[in-house]
């Protein structure tokens, strides 16, 4: 695992900022930023509970933002996606990995593994989609995992009581 550059560390910092914001808002703490020609063009976090839509992961929210950015700046969406690097605190899930791979994203850098839904850990999406995307993880992984644990220790306030875990104080 190579070290991250100074810029990359800054991007990861940003991603963590949004992950923490998610936790404050009782969302699964995952944050990410999308970088295109050394600029952050999309940033965000999970909004599943807020939108009552289980697909609104940080990466999905960012993909929508990139499309708006392209429309506003008259850029070819597919070309832009193929030059984007993604910095995300948790390994993208199967859904997000499939979306990012299909968009031919250049690179994904993530923090901790996603033991529940990971697009590499739980089911190897790359083995069936043969992506061009470079995927590497393990950057500030423990910190990212700690955020997830903190979330799952509490209860998800929007899940039906029977399914939510009992809150331990």
């Amino acid at each position: 695992m190579s070290e991250l550059s100074e810029n990359e560390c800054f991007y990861m910092d940003k991603a963590f900022f949004y992950a923490k914001e998610a936790l404050t808002n009782q969302e699964v703490p995952v944050g990410c930023v999308f970088i295109y020609s050394n600029q952050i063009i999309a940033l965000g976090r999970n909004t599943v509970n807020e939108t009552r839509n289980a697909t609104r992961h940080a990466e999905i929210n960012c993909i929508d933002q990139v499309e708006n950015y392209c429309n506003d700046n008259n850029l070819n969406t597919l070309v832009v996606f193929s030059e984007i690097s993604v910095y995300v605190t948790v390994e993208p899930c199967i859904m997000c990995a499939a979306a990012l791979f299909s968009l031919k994203i250049k690179k994904i850098v993530y923090g901790c593994r996603n033991d529940r839904f990971g697009g590499q850990t739980v089911f190897d999406v790359a083995s069936i989609l043969n992506p061009v995307t470079e995927l590497k993880g393990g950057y500030r992984g423990e910190e990212a995992m700690e955020l997830l644990k903190e979330f799952y220790r509490g209860s998800n306030p929007n899940a039906p009581a029977g399914k939510a875990k009992v809150k331990k104080n």
């Binding site: 909004t47 807020e50 939108t51 009552r52 839509n53 289980a54 697909t55 609104r56 999905i60 993909i63 929508d64 499309e67 969406t77 996606f81 899930c93 199967i94 859904m95 997000c96 499939a98 979306a99 299909s102 968009l103 529940r116 839904f117 739980v122 089911f123 999406v125 069936i128 989609l129 306030p157 929007n158 899940a159 039906p160 009581a161 029977g162």
Partner: protein
């Protein structure tokens, strides 16, 4: 009518209805039960059989093979082939098992490694070596494609026809590319909760299933893409999950189908915790085409109960490229059925 008779009738019905629907099952229900090698010998003195079984079961139990009977006629399982043959002989001596009754013709045979799950699997491995089998009625019906009654099959076809009409209408009115229809149904209330069709001209993520999921969210005061306004707050069911012009068209085509979602309740309105709709819990989705990996996982996240699709797709993730719903590590599993109205 008794149960057996009713099932028989249903089976005949589904045949006569030219039922093309099939379940997409986990591999371990379809493939033959895996086999493993064991040492066996023959007991020459039948009078000693019961004594030897007792002895060998207590000193050389086979906890990994508890689904197997110890004897087949005069043959007895000694041990798995994890040990060498001389070690087995030593072991028998060590444990003071009376081997004088054995033919001393130790050989290796194949038996079921794990308990068979379906009757079909059971019948195969039971021929190799007698095996215990506890049939699971539901799995049995699912794996033999006899789960649905005649009426249920008709109902699934009807909802799939709605999905086909969603695709047709979308193609004629919104986006002339090859269209895909998605219909989410609440099987408890027997109503269409939301619909979706492909809008990839408006966004790379806007596949029909993703749109349908977002439209379900709209019936729960959520949703992200092109929020709709409440269409009619007076009626009992919420219609936010279906675009207005499409709803009018579908209502004309399918005047026997109910449209609308259970009214969303905020947390403080809930009488019971499981009272209100939560994501797509308990819902069925009907898709004219098998979903891709992204959409299939979106459906898992959304906790659908069943997924029905019409035709297979070259990038499909529920049968063609993989069977995502059978990944054991996932925390939610829905059932998948393909082949429901293939030709759109």
């Amino acid at each position: 009518m008794d149960e057996a008779k009713r099932i028989k009738l249903d089976k005949e019905h589904s045949k006569t209805e030219n039922n093309t629907l099939y379940p997409v099952l986990p591999d371990d229900l379809i493939i033959d039960t895996p086999l493993t090698d064991v040492y066996v010998d023959t007991i020459v003195d039948p009078k000693k059989i019961s004594k030897i079984i007792k002895e060998i079961n207590s000193v050389l139990p086979l906890p990994q093979l508890a689904h197997l009977k110890r004897m087949k006629s005069k043959e007895i399982i000694l041990y798995p082939v994890s040990l060498e043959q001389y070690q087995i002989i030593n072991l028998l001596k060590e444990k003071t098992i009376d081997t004088s009754a054995f033919q001393n013709n130790i050989r290796i045979i194949q038996v079921a490694k794990i308990p068979p799950m379906t009757r079909k699997q059971f019948e195969k491995v039971n021929k190799l070596w007698p095996c215990n089998f506890h049939p699971n009625n539901y799995l049995e019906k699912l794996s033999t494609n006899t789960l649905f009654s005649h009426d249920e099959l008709r109902s699934h076809s009807r909802y799939m026809k709605v999905a086909v009409d969603v695709a047709k209408f979308a193609k004629d009115n919104y986006y002339s590319e090859e269209q895909i229809g998605a219909v989410v149904v609440d099987p408890k209330r027997k109503s269409v909760v939301a619909v979706g069709y492909r809008q990839t001209n408006k966004g790379v993520l806007k596949h029909a299933p993703m749109i349908a999921i977002d439209n379900v969210a709209k019936t729960q005061n959520g949703g992200v893409w092109n929020p709709l306004l409440n269409q009619d707050t007076k009626i009992e069911l919420n219609l936010d999950g279906i675009p207005k012009d499409l709803l009018e068209y579908l209502q004309i085509q399918h005047n026997d189908i109910v449209f609308g979602a259970q009214r969303y309740k905020e947390k403080d309105e809930l009488i019971e915790p499981a009272d209100g709709p939560y994501l797509c819990t308990g819902y069925y989705i009907y898709l004219t085409i098998e979903p891709c990996v992204m959409c299939a996982m979106g459906l898992v996240h959304s906790r659908l109960k069943r997924v029905f699709f019409g035709a297979k797709s070259s990038n499909g993730a529920l049968e063609t490229l993989c069977k995502l719903h059978t990944v054991k590590e996932l925390n939610h599993h829905f059932e998948v059925f393909g082949g429901l109205i293939k030709h759109v």
